[in-house]
Symmetry: C2
Subunit: 344 residues, 2 copies
């Protein structure tokens, strides 16, 4: 499809600004970039391909002429503007969770289910950040044998809470250095030198909204409607990149050697797995790049049909901005391959 | 048994100094305290009950007259001195991992298996810190139905690596603040604003020595010889208190209500479990006290016979010093109840 004009909704946030950088870095085939944000941010300018692009207030009329709108705003903003975006003829690639589980809204990790973009009706959804990272890591295992269930504990960076997360962590570290107390506002309690076992709100049987995403979104992305996931999401005082401890359970034994081999060859993954030489993924190592690093691959000692692993990825890049731009690239590629499949 | 004279082997380390404070705080029935450490620390003085006690060099002759020796040193020191300690007639309550899995060495969490002290031959072992915290949290569930297996991911504080851990974290935070590079020596890579999925060395099928302790020690403490534990141990930039994400699997369904009820009444546990009001354990909340806080109790969504929970405890206190002093208290109480059971 045509991708001459791309708009970013929520351009001044952490994910929006990263989308700008990723579009430039990946040389996305666009001629015009429209930056949209709240009235408060209108008038700011952001750099793109050597020029400063002004930020405009997001209004319904602002989407006229756009081919693709990359959504980097929250659920309410996404819901507010989606009718105008679709009516304008643009395709909305939305990073919020507003539409992810809706029928006819493909939920895409390009390395996993690129073909699912064909079913869209003007909206495609970018999955949750931890879900993207986990699914990118384990999808190759799913090709050996369908994943029946996963037990997951996360170690999520403060930047996952938006630009205010790293600021609050830095302020708390500085306050403690000066013998002062912390006054948390972004997080429910002090995150400096602490971990917090709550991300999102209570949603289902004692699990938070964030914890349920991996099951609900993972089912849709990997085409595993019966997948069961028990997840514990924890905020850690890391600036950037989420880490995830995963045990995957199958109906048949999967060898560590096979698991390591398919992950080494899996798109979007980098195998970093040599415990004896202190080589394994850490969030610092994965920050500022697009691959999901996977290591600590070993048998699950509780289940002869299980594989345990550890993965890390930059949740603002692969977990959000890069994945969205990759979806836009799939749309761009559709034109030449299947022009008749375009919904417009 | 008689406990008039207590020696601490490794008195100047983080755990040793904490033992001193716990003996004082719990008003342990002793008349004389002997502080032993390496030649390098000999001559230092440490406060106890308003007096300064000199630290002596640990030599084989130093244990003469001791009734109980609390070991707060590493495996090699423990192995070196254990024959002299036992020969002197003292009981050695050792925090190292040197003897934990040996037959005739009881491995004790006083809330869980106090009766096991009866089988000792002069040495009792204090379990691994994460193991103590986890077992204290889940033992009440084991009374409802035997635990078949556990899937565990840990969030372990830097002080678990000894006094050098918090120093290295502080130095790294300061270096980064000044735009300098980190030069890790205690940890295999930068721990400030990072997490490291390795504690201990590669030991068994891709698991580290630290990761195998929960299975091997848990089996012995909870009298569950078939228990299977799949553990991922991760260092996090927290100064003190370990946090543990646990899924327990049983052969029969265990309700969340029953789990919450028995944990609320379990010795050594404090139930902190109200997600809707942001109440759950964090390592900051548990630092500097002796209870294991347990929360986020919910069904395991992958297993109808599973319970998932989150627990935190001060690994220097309940995970080491307090547990050792509690073992010494069990020995002290033995005198009056069963004087004939004393091995001496």
């Amino acid at each position: 499809m045509k991708t001459d004009t791309v708009a970013i909704l929520g351009a001044t946030g952490a994910v929006g600004q990263e989308m700008l950088r990723i579009l430039e870095k990946r040389d996305f085939p666009l001629r015009k970039l429209i930056l949209l944000a709240s009235a408060r941010s209108a008038g700011k300018q952001l750099p793109f391909r050597g020029e400063m692009i002004p930020v405009q207030e997001a209004r319904k009329e602002a989407f006229a002429g756009a081919d693709i709108v990359l959504g980097a705003a929250g659920n309410e903003i996404a819901k507010t503007f989606s009718p105008a975006i679709v009516a304008s003829g643009a395709v909305f690639v939305d990073n919020s969770s507003a539409f992810r589980l809706e029928d006819h809204v493909p939920l895409i990790v390009p390395e996993v289910n690129p073909g699912d973009i064909r079913g869209h009706h003007g909206i495609l959804a970018n999955p949750n950040c931890s879900t993207i990272i986990t699914v990118t890591a384990v999808n190759a295992l799913n090709a050996i044998a369908p994943i029946r269930s996963m037990t997951v504990s996360t170690y999520q960076a403060v930047s996952g809470a938006g630009a205010g997360g790293p600021l609050e962590l830095a302020e708390e570290v500085e306050a403690l250095r000066n013998g002062q107390h912390c006054a948390p506002s972004v997080f429910p309690c002090q995150i400096a030198y602490n971990v917090i076992p709550q991300i999102g709100n209570a949603q289902y049987r004692g699990y938070t909204s964030e914890e349920m995403k991996l099951q609900n979104e993972g089912r849709k992305i990997m085409h595993l409607p019966e997948l069961k996931v028990s997840c514990t999401c924890v905020r850690v005082p890391v600036v950037r990149s989420h880490s995830i401890s995963v045990s995957c359970h199958f109906d048949v034994p999967v060898s560590v050697e096979a698991a390591r081999r398919v992950i080494a060859g899996a798109p979007g993954c980098l195998l970093v797995d040599d415990l004896a030489h202190n080589r394994y993924p850490t969030p610092l190592d994965t920050s500022g790049q697009d691959l999901v690093f996977v290591g600590r691959i070993r048998p699950d000692l509780t289940d002869e049909c299980g594989i345990t692993l550890w993965c890390c990825g930059d949740q603002i890049r692969k977990g959000a901005a890069t994945n969205a731009v990759q979806i836009a690239e799939l749309l761009a590629a559709e034109e030449s391959e299947n022009p008749e499949k375009s919904p417009w």
